[in-house]
Subunit: 323 residues, 2 copies
């Protein structure tokens, strides 16, 4: 039975072993650069671990796992460009280190590369895996579209927000697990339960991220808190505050949203409003609800408790984190 550390070792070894063509360097160097940045590798690890629930030998799941990791990094390359982000995992984003056209074209090549890896799946699973992969990829595009549209709106509901993060973040975690389960030979009910586990975990995870960006321990979180507040990002916290504030508080919130020249004061003021409106408590409660849903779905997977322990432990770690 694999540990999380085992899966990371497999994945890091396999990612390093990918032979990117040498030329044109302008196309392939950005791909190798982004894949070499240290990331959590949670998604491909989920594919291997879900397969390992059913099979001791997870070799057949390695290529699909890499496909997900490459696809995830493709979305980072294009999303960072669309969001004009300057840093990714502490390093310059591809469009900053190279240029915008490079981020577009290397991203395209990376999306194609993810399909090249997915096509190396075991033949008997190829068609359903491709359908899952493309269906999920389409949903992730929809999620990014909604995310961008929300930035220009002030009337986003909590329900719309959760649907957006379901599409942008959660479906991929669900699909990574389901694809591993398929390769492992799981039945459809288990596949669905693992998918649901991933969805609920993904939603809890994203709201936790929103919360930590404002309330995280900066020493552990590894980056300054308040970044989302400074760029007026439509997070769970901001949407919840907008929708629960009375007229006076809402006016103050809108005033701070329009203010771009007092960063420290803005963070303090918006955080105070969140506190006053009990936003962190509501966020914690929503996280707890999705966390419980995730564990219930995992509970229903018809595999020995001992084998599921690793997924339960990862879930607990993700929820406990202060960073």
């Amino acid at each position: 039975m694999l540990t999380f550390q085992d899966t990371l070792e497999i994945l890091n070894r396999e990612i390093q072993a990918i032979q990117h063509p040498k030329t044109p360097a302008g196309l392939y160097e950005p791909i190798a650069y982004l894949l070499a940045l240290k990331g959590k590798k949670l998604r491909p690890a989920f594919t291997l671990l879900a397969c390992n629930l059913y099979l001791e030998e997870v070799d057949a799941a390695i290529h699909p796992a890499l496909a997900w990791e490459i696809f995830h990094n493709f979305t980072l390359m294009h999303d960072d460009l669309m969001d004009k982000a300057e840093l990714r995992r502490g390093q310059p984003t591809v469009h900053k280190k190279w240029n915008e056209n490079t981020a577009i074209l290397s991203g395209d090549a990376m999306l194609i590369l993810s399909y090249i890896f997915m096509a190396k799946s075991p033949a008997e699973h190829l068609k359903p895996l491709l359908d899952l992969f493309s269906g999920t990829a389409s949903e992730i595009c929809k999620g990014q579209q909604y995310d961008m549209e929300f930035e220009r709106r002030t009337d986003v509901s909590e329900r719309e927000y959760i649907e957006m993060i379901r599409l942008k973040t959660a479906v991929m975690l669900g699909a990574c697990l389901r694809s591993g389960a398929m390769i492992g030979g799981a039945d459809k009910t288990d596949g669905q339960n693992l998918y649901d586990f991933g969805i609920h975990l993904g939603i809890a995870f994203q709201i936790k991220d929103d919360l930590l960006d404002v309330y995280g321990n900066p020493n552990v979180f590894g980056k300054k808190t308040g970044g989302d507040i400074l760029c007026n990002k439509k997070t769970y916290l901001l949407i919840n505050a907008m929708n629960s504030a009375n007229a006076t508080d809402k006016a103050e919130l809108l005033r701070w949203l329009a203010c771009n020249n007092q960063p420290e004061e803005k963070i303090v003021a918006v955080r105070s409003l969140y506190d006053k409106l009990s936003v962190p408590e509501k966020a914690d409660e929503t996280i707890r609800i999705f966390y419980e849903k995730a564990l219930t779905a995992l509970q229903a997977v018809s595999v020995d408790e001992n084998r599921k322990k690793i997924l339960r432990n990862i879930t607990e770690e993700l929820m406990k984190r202060e960073f």
Copy 2:
């Protein structure tokens, strides 16, 4: 046996029948917009016609044909953005009509959509078709990368240029034909010969395009000639002129390349230099060589001459065109 017109009717009907999701409209409307613009549809027609060399019934080739057409339109959406083109088929490009982020994200969704269609191929051909599709798609990215790199270079050789257009334009024609042949049940030799036919035809076709942009009949060509000269595009003609000019002519050519405020004079002057250096004659000769190679490859396809006539006729029409 299908006529070219028959294939266009099938393709137009099938493209119109694609059900794009209604929401988010900002993601899907640009896809429907670009697919509805009138294009030649040469690529998907080739897939159907190649299949029809072997099978009367081409239904099994329709989804792969649409995959190629959707993929081709994805490359147009992203290439137009990278090249900052304002018009496509006489209409505003997606990044002009909407914005740059829309062109990036709708393009991504379109690339994924092309894989959704390719995955609907007959199961027994799925893996080799996917390998052909992804391999070709990767080559097309390489071609676009070289094309962009060439714009910043003044020392591109004819050989490099032909390799670039092979990757950017020709491999897709070859692969469209090969995929149709695979579905039709052709053997590997026929598949290779049809691929080679497409490659040579594609190269001849692109050099012909370069030639017509300078020497085409503007009444028939449908757009003003000289566009490539005005934007200093590294075409076969410019590369050939740079490489065959003596020091004086080369200096004059470089002077005109640096000139951006006398468009009419620039076109006349560069065209005169091309004439003086016999560039159009050399282009015609190169086109003829690739045209002959294309016909030789088609000749080798082990199918009754009568069935191959349609591909021969299309080739002749493409080569005769003044537009």
